[in-house]
């Protein structure tokens, strides 16, 4: 007979693992409240020993337009999410339910774009935006986020899975296509739209490469670009860097902690229907 442990042996695996994933983030937050002297000692201290220091945040606020960066990111992400929700659900519905000339071809073209890496697109897109005169403006940062093949595909798959009878009933009652879409179909599409919103928010908020390429005026930087460029000049200002990290990541982390059950449900919703 094996003796039962007072607790499940899985804890022995999960506890250290959880610490590995979460301790660096805790250290990031705590370090942002330390003085430089405290940070530069070895062995490192996890907890601040000389009270809370706000030098990191103060330095960041005076040396960089960090509030502006955060506002830019909020704006870019808000536009990205709103536009994705509207345009991708419209298009997804069009491809799932409406029959029109060129539908098959258009959909194949959209699917074909999924495999194209951003590195291939950034050179001509930069040139295009330069000609349109929007390089170095916030528009350059959000235009590529207005819609995506992933979003169209996700919404189409979802609409294909809905039973068609409800829509037919609405149509027979004389509702127009748009009306049917708005008042019958969209209310059912909330789980798919939540997934789309979460993915768009995460990827537009965290994007570095494209805004790095498209924007060089530091008042137009997004938070990630600002942070990376600040790091480029102040490699050793750890208090300020960690303060910047906290500002750049905490909004999403807090949103995640508040809505985590839904958040994780939305993440799994994707993958597998796609």
């Amino acid at each position: 007979m094996r003796r039962r442990l007072p607790f499940s042996p899985w804890h022995l695996l999960l506890m250290p693992m959880a610490l590995i994933f979460v301790l660096p983030l805790i250290q990031m937050v705590l370090t942002s409240f330390m003085s430089t002297a405290e940070i530069n000692q070895f062995p490192p201290k996890l907890l601040p020993t000389t009270g809370l220091h706000l030098e990191g945040y103060k330095g960041l606020l005076t040396e960089t337009p960090v509030v502006r960066w955060l506002a830019n990111t909020v704006l870019v992400s808000a536009i990205a999410v709103a536009s994705h929700l509207v345009l991708c659900s419209l298009a997804g519905y069009g491809f799932a339910r409406l029959k029109f000339a060129g539908r098959g071809l258009a959909f194949v073209l959209i699917l074909a774009t999924v495999m194209i890496p951003i590195q291939l697109l950034m050179i001509p897109t930069y040139l295009m935006f330069a000609r349109a005169g929007i390089v170095d403006t916030l528009a350059a940062a959000f235009v590529p986020w207005l819609a995506s093949a992933f979003g169209i595909f996700l919404m189409r798959q979802f609409f294909l899975g809905l039973p068609v009878e409800l829509e037919e009933a609405a149509r027979l009652d004389g509702a127009s296509t748009l009306r049917t879409f708005i008042s019958v179909v969209l209310p059912l599409a909330r789980p798919a739209m939540a997934t789309l919103a979460v993915f768009t928010l995460l990827s537009s908020w965290n994007d570095l490469l494209w805004p790095l390429v498209a924007i060089s005026d530091d008042a137009k930087f997004t938070m990630q670009v600002g942070l990376a460029s600040f790091q480029g000049t102040r490699r050793t200002e750890w208090a300020e860097l960690m303060a910047g990290n906290v500002i750049a990541t905490m909004p999403l982390i807090i949103a995640f902690l508040i809505a985590q059950k839904k958040f994780i449900a939305t993440m799994t919703f994707t993958g597998l229907k796609g």
Binding site: L13, M17, F95, L98, A101, I110, P124, P163, Q231, G271
Partner: protein, 314 residues
């Protein structure tokens, strides 16, 4: 989905269909369709297919973006084949991919199995393991620079406690790529684990029960029942993470910027430098096309392998 359709009997169709000219009706159907699908299609195709085709023409030119371009045919591609920097970048990228993809599958699956246990604190564990996925790669890179700092970083402190001498980590050409792989895993495991967790919960309980009644050990159940059921997810994860590894940029930008001694210079980083640091647009575009070809090839390979093993993941 709990929906009742009983309230809308088909026979209750309203009388009096408007009879319109069938051609006008067809036209309005096409217009409605395009009004729905058009805007998003225009944006997606306009911002990817069109630039992709343009990039091909750029890849056959010598161009700094300002002076007039000279068409050089396949010369950029020929030079790429002999470019030692490109060869090194490809090697680094392959090393990263070869480490990252299997590791994220194995670790992700292991974490998912652990997270699937019905034990106390499981919700807490799930939260902890998923949080890093939400943090941006740029911030993760900066944080990693701190944790792996050779002078006062926590990583060296842990090594010191177990009696291993201090390491240079990201500042050592021999270690930097491995450390970057570890950091990338730290950020991505949450996603892989959640996908696997969902798949584990979708496995019919009867399958596992039947095997257990037949006296199979937990290990055999995992190997012969669970693993085959997870195969479609594994194909999906393999492709997804291959693309992630091949295109890893943000993390490298905020940790090593390709150094030390170019040891973490990957293909995407090289493309970025060519096009936006040294303004060699044509050459950069050619390198980007090469990356595209490799991505496509690897993805098709994974799909083909999955199909051969009888998995229709796509």
């Amino acid at each position: 989905m709990a929906l009742t359709f009983a309230a809308t009997p088909r026979s209750a169709a309203p009388a009096g269909h408007r009879r319109r000219d069938p051609r006008r009706r067809a036209l309005s159907r096409h217009l409605t369709g395009w009004a729905f699908a058009g805007p998003a299609t225009l944006i997606v195709v306009g911002l990817s297919l069109f630039p992709a085709v343009w990039a091909f023409f750029i890849s056959r030119a010598k161009w700094n973006g300002i002076a007039p371009a000279t068409m050089v045919g396949w010369q950029n591609y020929e030079r790429l084949a002999q470019d030692p920097d490109m060869a090194a970048a490809a090697q680094h990228t392959l090393l990263l991919t070869a480490l990252f993809v299997p590791a994220s599958i194995v670790v992700g699956m292991l974490v998912a199995v652990a997270l699937n246990q019905k034990i106390r604190l499981i919700g807490f564990y799930r939260t902890c393991i998923f949080v890093p996925y939400v943090a941006s790669a740029a911030a993760t890179g900066i944080l990693a620079g701190f944790v792996f700092n050779p002078q006062f970083g926590a990583a060296n402190e842990i090594l010191r406690r177990v009696g291993i001498p201090a390491q240079q980590f990201l500042e050592s050409p021999n270690q930097a790529m491995y450390i970057i792989c570890v950091i990338a895993l730290w950020g991505e495991i949450g996603f892989t684990a959640v996908i696997y967790l969902a798949a584990l919960q979708d496995i019919p309980k009867e399958l596992v029960e039947a095997a257990r009644t037949d006296g199979a050990s937990p290990w055999r159940i995992f190997w012969h029942v669970t693993l085959p059921e997870l195969r479609p997810v594994t194909v999906f994860t393999a492709i997804w993470q291959t693309i992630t590894a091949l295109q890893l940029f943000d993390l490298i930008y905020t940790t090593t910027r390709g150094g030390p001694l170019n040891s973490t210079q990957t293909v995407v980083y090289y493309i970025y430098e060519l096009a936006f640091q040294t303004q060699r647009l044509g050459y950069g575009a050619a390198a980007a096309y090469l990356l595209f070809a490799v991505t496509l090839l690897l993805s098709l390979l994974v799909i083909w392998y999955g199909r051969r093993r009888g998995t229709e993941a796509f």
